[in-house]
Amino acid sequence: MTTMSRDIRRIVVALDDSAESRSVLEEAVALAAGMKAELAGLFVEDATLLNAAQLSFIRQVSLSGQTVEAMDSTSLERSLRGQAETIRAALQRAAGRHNLVWSFRVARGKASVQILEAVAEADLVIMGKTTPAVTRYHRIGKTARIVASAPRGRILFSEPRLRKVLGETGPITVAYGQGPTGDHVLDMAVALARVSASPLVILFPSDTPDDGDGIRKAAEERLIREGIKARFRNCGERGAAALVHAMSAQRGSLLVIAQDSPLLGENTVADLIEALDSPVLVVAAGA
C-alpha cells in the first residue's frame, strides 16, 4: 500500500437517478473497497428545476412526447425524494457487499457548486462525465465542465457510457510532468495500479530531449522508492488530441493528470475529458 492510497480515506460519489449513475456507483464502490476508504453518496436536488416548478405556466413533456402535464413543486419534490431513496438503497446494497463504511447526503442547489463543496470534505470525488442532460450524447455534461474548470482536489470523471466490449483491462496511464503536482499525480496512479493490479504507463512530454530525460528520470526515482515498475512512453506533442492518441495506443483504462499538466498544451482539462473515451482523474495543484 502506498502513501497515497493510505491518504484516500473518504470518497464522495455524486449520484443521480440515471443508468449511467449506477455505473459510477459501481466504480466508486470498487475503488473504496480497494483503498479501504469510506464512501459517501451525494445527491443534489437541482435548484433550477425547483425554481421552474414554481412557475405555474410551465409544463413538462414526456420523453415520448405523448403527454404534457403541469409541473408542480409538490410532485417534483416527491419525485426527487423518491430518486434520493432509490439511490440511497443502491448505495447501501453495493457498500454492503464489500462491507464498506458508507453515508448518504441530499443537498439542494446547483450540482456543480455542491460537488465542488464536497471536494473540501473528501480525499477523492467521483462523478460522471455526463449528468442527466437534454441531449444524451454530449461527451461532457455542463456540470462536469464547470467542475473540471475549477482547480480543486482530486476528481475522477467517470465514463459511464463506456462499455467494455472486448479486450483485457488496460493499464493505468498517467500524464506526468515534473513538480509537486506531478508527483501527486504519479502517487495517485501508483495507488490505482496497485489496487486494480493493472500495469502502469507513464506519458511524458519531450519537447526537448533533455526535458524528456529529466522528467523520466525523476519519475523512475520515485517509482523505485515505491517498488513498482512502469512503461514510459513519449507523448510526442502536447494537447488533448495527443493525449487521446497516446491513450488509444496504450489501450489505457484510465488517465491520471494534473489540473495544470504541461501535457495539456493549449487545451483545458474539460477539453481533454470531452475528447477522451476513458475515465479521467484530475489532480489539482496542492491536492
Binding site: 413538462q60 437534454v134 466490449v165
Partner: protein, 814 residues
C-alpha cells in the same frame, strides 16, 4: 401282519459318487450352473426367438432356482449375435421449446454429433465477438448510432436554439423535459418573473407554449427512429453473424448430409444463431462492468469459476442413449433394471432450481431402462416392478404403444410448464422374473397381462435324483465353487452337499433345484474350512456349516424342548394312556422349519355322532384340519356298528396349543386317540404319530416328515433313548426320509424306530400292542380285538341312546 420298522439305510439316501473319478471339484470341469430346468429353458428360447408383439416372457419359479443367471446367460448369448441399436439424442426444438425433438443416429454417431456441436459453439463464441469487434462492424454500427444521435440531437438543438433566442432554456425533469424562462443562464425565480411587465410575461408564456408544442410534436418521432435504429442494428448483426456461421454450418451439413433430420436441425441452428447472435454471444460481455478499472477490481474479489452460461444450452446435444461406447461390447443391449421405479423405467426430466423456480429443458432429459434396452432385452423383477407406483401401468402402456414417452406422473394434471419430448420408437423384449403366485395373480386379475406376456417359463423346484442327475449335480457344485471362488470340495463334501439338497427338497428321491441355497452352503462351508486351515472343503466342513446354520436359527426350537423337559408342556415319552397320543407338527420360522410333539387327547360320551373339534370351536383350527376331523366321523360311522346310528359325542383337543393349527396331518393321530378312548385300550406314549387318513382308514402322506421325526427324537434323546421310542409315519412318506445323522445312528443301534404305516389297523396295533382285528365270516371282529372293543362300545352307546330316547328325555340330549 405286523408292521416292519424301516431299516436304518432307508432313513436317508446316501450319495454314492463312486462312478465319478475326482479328488476335488477342481477335477470336475465344465459343470452346468443350473439343473433340471429344461422346460423353462425351452420356453425362454422359444420366447426370445419369436419376434412379434406380445411375446415377452414371464419367468416364474422359486427364488434361488437360478432364474436371473440363466435368463441373463441366454439373453447375452442371443444378443451377441444381434446388431447394436441406434444412438438416440434429444435436441432443442427451436419452434416449440416445450417439445424437444428426438434424433436417431447410427451407432456411435450421437457422440460425434455432440462433439461437433460443442466445437461449433466454442468456435462461434470466439469467432462472433471477434467479428463484432472488427473495425468494419464497429464503423457500420457507429454510423447507424451516429445517424440516430444526429437526428435526435437535431431536435433538441433546433428547439434549444429557438428557445435560446427567446431567453428560454430546455431543462430535464425527473419524468421528461420542460421549457423555462432564463436570465443570465439561470431559470428566473417566480418572484422576479412576477415583477416583469405583463406584456413580457405573456410573451414568454406564449413563446414557451409554442416551443412546447413543437417539442412535443418532434419528440413523437423519436420512438419511431429508435425502432428503426434497432431494426437496422439487428439487420447488421444478422448480416455480420451470417458470414461467421454459414461456412461452419456448411461443413457440418456436408458431413451429415445423409441424415435429413440432422441437416434440418443445422438449418434451425443457423437461423437461431443469426437471429440471436447479439443477445447470445455478446450479452455477457456487454453486461459486464462498464469500466476496465472496475473489471480489474472486481476480478480480484471473485476468483471462482464463472456461472455456467445457460443461453448456449439450446445448442447442446443431449445424447440420451450412446450405444457407440456403452462398455457392453458388441451386440444388442441386455439391460437389467434393479430399481424399476417409473422414472428409472421410462426416463425423466430433471429440474434445476433457478431463482426459486424449478426449471427444465431438453438437456435435462434422462434415459430410462427402456431407452437403454431399446433394440435388445430388458430384465425386470416383477415384484419390484409391481411395488413401484405407476410403473406397471406405464410399462404396459409403453409396450402397447411401442414408443417411449418421457412423462412425469400427474403431468397431465399439473399446470406448471413442463416438457413433452417427442416419443422414441420402442422395440424391446421384456423378461419379467417373479414367483408363481405373482404370475397367477396377474394372469387372473389383469386382462392385459396375457396379451403382453405370452410366454411363461416355469422353473422347477426340484429334479429327479438318480445316478445321472447326481453326477451332473456334482458338476454343478464344482462349477459353482469355481464361480463363487470358494475352496474346492472333496468327494465327501460334494456328497454331503447333494444329500443336503435332497433334504432341502424334502425327498430322498429328489434334488433341490434352488442353486441359491447350495451357493450359500458353499460360502459357509468354505468359511468353516478356511477357519480350520483347510484349503479343500470336506464333508465335515459341510456338515458343520449345516449344523451352524441350524444352531443360528433354532432358539425357538430349543425353548420348546426346554419347556417339555421341565414339564411345562406335558409330553410323555414312556408309559401308556387311554385317549392320549403324541401328535407331531411342524413350525416354520423364517427360513427354518422344525418339528415338535403335541399331546392330542380324545374323550367320548353318548351323543348324536358329533365330533367336537375344540380347535375349530375356538377358531384356532383351519379348514383343512376341520376336514380331517369330519373324515374321522365318516370312518367310524362306516366301519363300526353300521346298522346303528353313531351315538357318541367325541371331543378332540390339541393340548397346550395356543396358536393356529391347520392341515390334516394329525387326522390319523386323532383317530387313534378316539379308538383308544372308545376301546379303553391305552396307547404307548413312547411313540409319536403323523399322517392323514381317508374314509377307508388308509394312512396318507403328509409334509415335513423329516422335521416331525427329528422333533420327537430330540425330546426322547433329551430324556434318554430307551430303545422303545419311535415315530409312526405314513408308508408313502418313507421315500421322503432324509433324516439327520444322529437319528439314523439311533435307528441303526436299535434305540429309535420308524414305523411305516399303511392303514389305521396297522397303526393301532403298533400303538397298543393289541390286534386290530378283521371282520370274520360272520361279520364280527375277533373277540378282544381293538376293533371289536370299539364296535361294542359304539353299540353300547347306541343302545343307551335308544333307551334314553324311549324314556322321553332324548330331546334334552345334546
Amino acid at each position: 401282519m405286523p408292521v416292519t420298522p424301516l431299516p436304518a439305510d432307508k432313513l436317508r439316501a446316501c450319495c454314492d459318487l463312486s462312478g465319478l473319478a475326482f479328488e476335488t471339484t477342481d477335477d470336475l470341469a465344465g459343470g452346468e450352473e443350473v439343473l433340471g430346468q429344461e422346460r423353462a429353458f425351452e420356453a425362454i428360447e422359444f420366447g426370445i426367438g419369436i419376434d412379434h408383439r406380445g411375446y415377452n416372457i414371464f419367468v416364474l419359479g422359486p427364488t434361488g432356482a437360478g432364474r436371473h443367471r440363466y435368463v441373463r446367460r441366454l439373453l447375452d448369448a442371443r444378443a451377441a449375435d444381434e446388431s447394436k441399436p441406434s444412438d438416440w439424442c434429444y435436441i432443442h426444438n427451436f419452434d416449440e421449446p416445450r417439445r424437444p425433438k428426438a434424433l436417431e443416429l447410427p451407432t456411435g454417431m450421437g457422440r460425434t454429433l455432440r462433439t461437433d456441436m460443442t466445437q461449433l459453439i466454442e468456435d462461434l463464441r470466439a469467432g462472433i465477438p471477434a467479428i463484432f469487434e472488427a473495425e468494419e462492424y464497429r464503423n457500420r454500427r457507429h454510423a447507424i448510432e451516429q445517424e440516430f444521435r444526429e437526428r435526435q440531437e437535431a431536435i433538441f438543438e433546433g428547439i434549444q436554439e429557438k428557445a435560446g433566442q427567446r431567453n428560454i432554456a430546455l431543462i430535464r425533469t425527473p419524468t421528461g423535459l420542460a421549457l423555462a424562462p432564463v436570465r443570465d443562464d439561470e431559470v428566473i425565480e417566480p418572484q422576479e418573473f412576477q415583477k416583469l411587465p405583463e406584456d413580457e410575461r405573456k410573451k414568454i408564456e406564449s413563446d414557451i407554449e409554442e416551443l412546447q408544442q413543437e417539442l412535443q410534436q418532434r419528440l413523437q418521432d423519436v420512438p419511431k427512429w429508435d425502432k428503426e435504429r434497432r431494426e437496422r442494428v439487428r439487420d447488421l448483426n444478422k448480416e455480420t453473424t451470417r458470414g461467421a456461421v454459414a461456412c461452419q454450418i456448411m461443413a457440418l451439413r456436408a458431413k451429415y448430409m445423409e441424415f435429413g433430420k440432422v441437416v434440418r436441425y443445422f438449418d434451425a441452428v443457423e437461423k437461431d444463431i443469426i437471429n440471436n447472435s447479439a443477445r447470445l454471444f455478446l450479452e455477457t460481455e456487454q453486461d459486464g462492468p462498464t469500466n476496465p478499472l472496475i473489471a480489474a477490481l472486481q476480478h480480484q474479489d471473485h476468483d471462482g469459476p464463472r456461472r455456467p452460461e445457460l443461453q448456449f444450452r439450446r445448442y447442446e446435444i443431449n445424447l440420451l442413449v450412446d450405444n457407440g461406447d456403452d462398455g457392453n461390447g458388441p451386440g444388442a443391449p441386455v439391460y437389467h433394471e434393479d430399481h424399476p421405479a417409473l422414472p428409472n423405467l421410462i426416463g425423466r426430466a430433471e429440474h434445476q432450481a433457478e431463482l426459486g423456480a424449478l426449471l427444465t429443458d431438453f438437456t435435462l432429459l434422462r434415459a430410462g431402462a427402456l431407452h437403454r434396452a431399446n433394440g435388445g432385452y430388458l430384465i425386470l423383477d416383477a415384484r419390484k416392478l409391481l411395488m413401484q407406483p405407476y410403473a406397471w401401468e406405464e410399462l404396459k402402456r409403453t409396450l402397447f404403444a411401442r414408443e417411449i414417452k418421457i412423462e412425469a406422473p400427474f403431468q397431465a394434471y399439473v399446470s406448471t410448464i413442463t416438457l413433452e419430448p417427442e416419443p422414441i420408437p420402442l422395440k424391446v423384449k421384456v423378461v419379467l422374473i417373479g414367483d408363481r403366485q405373482l404370475y397367477y395373480m396377474l394372469a387372473a386379475l389383469d386382462p392385459e397381462f396375457e396379451e403382453l406376456f405370452k410366454i411363461a417359463a416355469d422353473f422347477e423346484d426340484d429334479l429327479e435324483r438318480n445316478e445321472e442327475t447326481v453326477a451332473r449335480y456334482a458338476g454343478m457344485v464344482a462349477a459353482l465353487a469355481r464361480k463363487l471362488e470358494v475352496a474346492p470340495l472333496d468327494r465327501s463334501a460334494v456328497a454331503r452337499v447333494i444329500d443336503y439338497s435332497s433334504r432341502e427338497a424334502g425327498d430322498s428321491e429328489k434334488l433341490s433345484a434352488r442353486v441359491g441355497t447350495v451357493s450359500d452352503l458353499l460360502f459357509e462351508a468354505s468359511h468353516v474350512a478356511r477357519n480350520e486351515g483347510r484349503a479343500v472343503m470336506t464333508g465335515a466342513d459341510v456338515k458343520r456349516a449345516i449344523d451352524l446354520r441350524i444352531r443360528r436359527s433354532d432358539r425357538i426350537r430349543e425353548r420348546g424342548l426346554e419347556q417339555i423337559h421341565r414339564g411345562t408342556i406335558l409330553i410323555d415319552t414312556d408309559g401308556t394312556r387311554v385317549g392320549t397320543i403324541n401328535g407331531l407338527s411342524v413350525l416354520q420360522i423364517g427360513g427354518f422349519a422344525f418339528g415338535r410333539p403335541t399331546r392330542i387327547t380324545a374323550r367320548v360320551r353318548m351323543g348324536r355322532g358329533e365330533f367336537v373339534d375344540v380347535e375349530r370351536e375356538v377358531e384356532l383350527g383351519g379348514p383343512t384340519h376341520s376336514k380331517g376331523v369330519l373324515i374321522l366321523s365318516s370312518y367310524l360311522g362306516a366301519r363300526y356298528a353300521v346298522d346303528r346310528p353313531l351315538s357318541l359325542r367325541a371331543s378332540l383337543v390339541f393340548e397346550q396349543s395356543y396358536g393356529g393349527i391347520d392341515g390334516d396331518s394329525a387326522s390319523s393321530t386323532e383317530l387313534y386317540a378316539i379308538l383308544s378312548a372308545l376301546s379303553g385300550v391305552p396307547i404307548r406314549q413312547d411313540l409319536a404319530v403323523t399322517g392323514s387318513v381317508n374314509q377307508y382308514g388308509e394312512v396318507q402322506a403328509i409334509g415335513g416328515v423329516n422335521e416331525k421325526i427329528e422333533g420327537f427324537f430330540d425330546v426322547c434323546k433329551e430324556r434318554g433313548l430307551t430303545g422303545n421310542q419311535g415315530v409312526l409315519i405314513p408308508e408313502s412318506n418313507a421315500k421322503h426320509l432324509m433324516l439327520r445323522d444322529d437319528v439314523v445312528e439311533a435307528a441303526e443301534s436299535g434305540k429309535f424306530t420308524i414305523y411305516p404305516i399303511a392303514t389305521i389297523d396297522d397303526g393301532i396295533e403298533v400303538l397298543t400292542g393289541e390286534i386290530a382285528g378283521e371282520r370274520g365270516d360272520g361279520g364280527a371282529f375277533p373277540e378282544g380285538s381293538i376293533n371289536a372293543r370299539v364296535e361294542a362300545r359304539l353299540i353300547e352307546l347306541a343302545d343307551a341312546r335308544r333307551r334314553f330316547g324311549m324314556s322321553g328325555e332324548g330331546g334334552a340330549l345334546q
